[in-house]
Structures are given as structure tokens and as C-alpha cells.
């Protein structure tokens, strides 16, 4: 099924977002995080963790179940097909729903929302999902939306048990990529572009080391993150440079680590947000990219233009500019493409070809350029929610040891890759 994309702000010229400052995030909840599900502990399954995150978000907002009238999620949990076929469990874990995803209908049944009227389970992934939620509330499709995003990691080595990767044939469009070993756009096309970047600007893979180390440092200050909980030690430059090669020069530390967890958020109208428990974090705009390059591999220049266009859409809809963005949490699922966002949005004045020099400067949360204060997915495990939760915490002033020392009035966060993504602009102030 193809998701409806008519709500997207995926082209330039749309003007200021019609709901600018009229929608707010008022709740956030994060479930427990494991490396993978053990296959037997049901409250640590996808459904169990989704319920945990949703209830935490509702409690954080000071709301009750009866206040929720919109339920929004995505089935893009990255569970892949690494586990089937296998036996099911007793209800409600007697179908895929609850095990490798947690749909709006499943959560509705499990938590018993009396007033839910808007159900949406087909957001393509968290980036567009956050924009979809803001638009749905702004459009009046619901007043208070519960939005959750599970990430699932099951038994077996990630990706290796996926039947697609054992197929002796390459059907459809994969016939033009799979026979040469191409695996995914996020990894392969963006590594191609990283190599083009290094060639064009005279850079090298070593230039990513300061970013990787700082993400781990920030991640260790995120108490619910994977590394803070399970491997609480800092990386060194030597660790990074001698990391296990995946696709040379890409090493294991460039890849965000698959985990089993769920993040949840509450979106509501600015009017409703006024008298709730948390300081509202207003939404000033959302924007998406859904493009693709001309040929087999998108190129550096195509991605640079894609992010530049994304930035223009974001500035146009929010009324802000690059200098107005205090907190910046773009996706770091592979460190090789994060620099495209930094340079395309020109955060802190960084231009094309300058990202590695910026990384080598002071990007600590205590410093003047607290890039990815969340620790990203590289520093907390691939949950993707952290990009948004840190942005919200920074604007609330509740980020604890990660709280930046520079101004934190606005935050820009988004996922996934330069040519396919959704970004959202938050603000402490509605205008």
C-alpha cells in the first residue's frame, strides 16, 4: 500500500505553514531499550515497548487516555524478515501486529482509548511521521495525537537472515543494483557520495572521528540510551580508526546500532497546550524530501541540492533562517551522510566542504557548536526518536548534563537521508 503524501510540504513555494505556531508537542515517553528482543519477554516485545512508551508520553503531558483522539505510527520498524516463520504467542501477540509492529488499531485495543477517532499506521518512517502528526492536528483531523515509533531488532545477525539477501535472482529494479552487491541506499549510495565528497574537497574518512566520539560522549549522557545502559565507555580515536571494516572505508562505528525500543510523543493544538503540565514546544513548520537522482547512484551534487532545497522549504514555511536554529539534530544513521545536512542547512555557517573542519572544532554540548546534542543514533542506538526527544528536552530546559549552554529557543530535527526525509522545526515560542 502506498501512503498518501498529499499532506507533505515537499516542494518549494508553499509559503508560511498555515498552522505555524498553532500545534505543539506536550509529551514524550521512551521505553526501555535492549539490543534485541529475547523472544519470550512480552513486555519487551515491540508491542510491549510501544505500550510502555505511549503511557509514559501521556503521563508526561499530564493527560489521560480519554484525552487522546488521534493515533499515529509507522510500520517501518526495521524488523526485516529475520524471524519468520515461527510460532505465535497467546493474544494479543498472536499475529505480526504486536511483534514486529504496533499498529494504531493494536494500541487502541490494548490501551483502550475511548475517544480515538483518527487512526494512521502507514507513516513511512519517523521523519515524515512527525510532520504528518503536526499536519493532522493543525488540520483538525484530531485534537490530541499520540504518536509512537518502534524500532525492532530480533534474533540473528542484522540483515544476514533477510530472505532478500539470499535470493539467487534480482527482480524488478533490483536487477540494476543487486548483481553488483548493492545493499541499501542509506549505506551504499551515501558511501558513494561520501567518497565523491572526499575526492572533491580533499577530505578523508578520518575526518568523521571527532563526530563519532562526540556522539558517543553525548549518548553516554542520555541515560536511557543503549551505550549509557549497556556499554558505558567512551570511544577513542584509535577505536574509531581501527573499527571493523564493513565497506571500506566505512567502519562499524559509522553505523548506528540496531536496538529494540520505542519512542512516543503527544501533539496537540497550541490552545489545548496552554494549561498542560509541560511547557509547550511549538511546531513552526515541517518539510520533506522525496526525490531521487537521475541515474543508478545519486550524486554528491544531487544530494547537496536536495538538502539545500529542503532548507529553503524549511525557512520559507517557518519564517526562520539558518542563524535562527539553536539546536540541530539531523539523522546520523550512517555518519557518512550527516555532513550533508550540516552543510545544506548551513548550520553555524558551515558551507559545502567544511563539515570535517567543523567536527574538529568544539562540538561538545558545553561548547559554542553543540551539534547533535542528542548523541544521535550513533550515540544511543538506532531509535531515531532521540533526535526529537533531545530537541524537546533542550527547549524545555530539561536535557540534564546534555543541556546546551548556548541559546535553546528553536530546534530542527529530522530523518532519514538527504534525498528522502522529513524535518520539523520546533520553537519555545509560537511566533
Amino acid at each position: 500500500m502506498v501512503s498518501d503524501t498529499s499532506w507533505m510540504r515537499d516542494r518549494e513555494g508553499l509559503g508560511v505553514w498555515e498552522h505555524r505556531g498553532k500545534v505543539a508537542v506536550v509529551g514524550w515517553g521512551q521505553s526501555h531499550m535492549d539490543r534485541r528482543w529475547d523472544g519470550v519477554t512480552m513486555d519487551r516485545s515491540c508491542g510491549g515497548l510501544a505500550k510502555e512508551a505511549c503511557l509514559k508520553a501521556i503521563a508526561d503531558a499530564g493527560l489521560s487516555l480519554d484525552d487522546i483522539d488521534g493515533l499515529i505510527t509507522s510500520a517501518d520498524t526495521r524488523a526485516e524478515q529475520t524471524w519468520a516463520p515461527r510460532p505465535y504467542f497467546a493474544p494479543p501477540y498472536d499475529t505480526e501486529d504486536g511483534l514486529i509492529k504496533a499498529s494504531a488499531e493494536w494500541i487502541n485495543r490494548e490501551l483502550g482509548f475511548k475517544n480515538a477517532k483518527y487512526f494512521k499506521s502507514d507513516a513511512s518512517y519517523i521523519g515524515p511521521m512527525m510532520g504528518l502528526a503536526a499536519q493532522a492536528v493543525g488540520d483538525g483531523l484530531c485534537e490530541t495525537a499520540l504518536v509512537w515509533y518502534p524500532m525492532v531488532n530480533l534474533e540473528g545477525r542484522y540483515g544476514h537472515n533477510n530472505p532478500q539477501n539470499s535470493n539467487e535472482e534480482a527482480p524488478g529494479s533490483s536487477a540494476f543494483t543487486l548483481p553488483w552487491g548493492y545493499q541499501s541506499g542509506a549505506m551504499f549510495n551515501n558511501l558513494v557520495i561520501f567518497q565523491q565528497y572526499c575526492k572533491k574537497y580533499g577530505k578523508s574518512h578520518e575526518g568523521l572521528a571527532p563526530l563519532c566520539l562526540n556522539l558517543r560522549r553525548n549518548g553516554l549522557m542520555t541515560p536511557w540510551g543503549y551505550y549509557a545502559m549497556h556499554e558505558p565507555h567512551q570511544l577513542t580515536t584509535d577505536d574509531y580508526l581501527n573499527g571493523r571494516m564493513i565497506e571500506e572505508p566505512l567502519v562499524i562505528f559509522d553505523c548506528d546500532r540496531p536496538v529494540n525500543t520505542c519512542g512516543a510523543f503527544i501533539f496537540t493544538t497550541a490552545e489545548r497546550a496552554k494549561d498542560l503540565r509541560q511547557k509547550p514546544v511549538y511546531v513552526l513548520n515541517h518539510a520533506q524530501n522525496t526525490g531521487k537522482g537521475r541515474s543508478t547512484m545519486s550524486t554528491l551534487e544531487e544530494h547537496q541540492e536536495a538538502v539545500s532545497s529542503l532548507a529553503r522549504k524549511m525557512w520559507e514555511g517557518s519564517g526562520l533562517g539558518a542563524a535562527d536554529v539553536d539546536i540541530f539534530n539531523p539523522y546520523d544513521g550512517y555518519l557518512t551522510f550527516t555532513q550533508q545536512f550540516l552543510e545544506g542547512f548551513q548550520w553555524h555557517g558551515v558551507k559545502f566542504g567544511e563539515a570535517h573542519d567543523f567536527y574538529a572544532d568544539d562540538i561538545r554540548v558545553e561548547g559554542p557548536h553543540p551539534f547533535l546534542s542528542s548523541g544521535g543514533n550513533n550515540g544511543t542506538g538506532r531509535n531515531r526518536s532521540v533526535l526529537y526527544s533531545d530537541s524537546i528536552q533542550q527547549l524545555r530546559g530539561t536535557a540534564g548534563p546534555r543541556q546546551v549552554t548556548v541559546r535553546a529557543d528553536t530546534a530542527l530535527a529530522g530523518c532519514n537521508t538527504p534525498d528522502s526525509n522529513g524535518f520539523i522545526m520546533f520553537s519555545k515560542h509560537p511566533s
Binding site: G159, N165, E169, L178, Q195, K199, I246, S295, T299
Partner: protein, 142 residues
């Protein structure tokens, strides 16, 4: 089979759209779509012109199999079964001389992993897959 030791490429499965391309490969020829409206070459094949959107202006044109190596990396830990027994293996992007906006993938048969001469000229060759379908590959010109 591939000339790269251990490599078992997944075999392309032609469909209505791509059959002319793969049939040409089996004749050791390279044909690409060309839009007669905007005169742009197109690869991989698509139902519409990626440039102007025309659906009924796409034809097939034979092109020369000449190109240059743009960039590369080395696959060392593939998720794809047929590549695990061949790694480390080059993964290169080749630009077509007739239109550098068109690019192809290559494992560069004959070039040792990691010893890729970026910028070097390459020419097209063909390698067999398990179904007998030929696939286009690229080899460094010496």
C-alpha cells in the same frame, strides 16, 4: 559465471519494461532509453522520462560501452549471500563517456580489491549469471 573468484551474482529477472535492455546484454550490446522529447538518456529503465515526465517518448538507443571510474569502496562484510564468498570485492561507480550523468555499478573484474585507479578509463564487458543472463560489467583499459 563471474571472473571474480567466489562471486555468485543474483541473476537479473527481466520484465516487460526491462526486457529490451537485458536482451541486448545477451547480445553483448548496451542499449539505454532515450527520451525523444528532451533527448536525455536514461538508466536504469523507467516507465517515464525522469527529466520531462513523458511516458510515450521513450525509445531504445545503443551506446558505446566506454566510461571512467568515478569513485569506489571495498565491500568487506556483505549481507548478500553471493558476495560473502568473494569479499573483499570492489564496488565502483562508472560514468558513461557519452553522458557522465549516467552511471553504472561495477565490481571491476581484474582489478585487485582496493587497488582501483580512480579516474581511469574502462570498457564494458559481460559476465554470465546462474540463469545464463549476461550482465554488464566494466574493466580497466590497459
Amino acid at each position: 559465471m563471474s571472473t571474480i573468484p567466489g562471486l555468485e551474482r543474483p541473476a537479473p529477472v527481466p520484465n516487460d519494461l526491462t526486457k529490451p535492455f537485458w536482451d541486448a546484454c545477451n547480445e553483448r550490446r548496451l542499449v539505454l532509453q532515450i527520451c525523444t522529447e528532451c533527448e536525455k538518456l536514461q538508466y536504469p529503465p523507467a516507465q517515464r522520462c525522469n527529466e520531462c515526465g513523458s511516458a510515450d517518448k521513450l525509445e531504445w538507443k545503443e551506446v558505446q560501452g566506454k566510461g571512467h571510474i568515478d569513485v569506489y569502496f571495498v565491500i568487506r562484510d556483505s549481507r548478500i549471500r553471493g558476495f560473502r564468498s568473494a569479499q573483499p570485492i570492489n564496488f565502483a561507480v562508472i560514468t558513461l563517456d557519452e553522458d557522465p550523468g549516467i552511471n553504472f555499478l561495477s565490481n571491476l573484474p581484474g582489478t585487485p580489491p582496493g587497488e582501483v585507479p580512480v579516474g581511469a578509463p574502462v570498457e564494458m564487458i559481460f559476465e554470465a549469471t546462474s540463469t545464463g543472463q549476461l550482465v554488464h560489467e566494466w574493466q580497466v583499459l590497459t
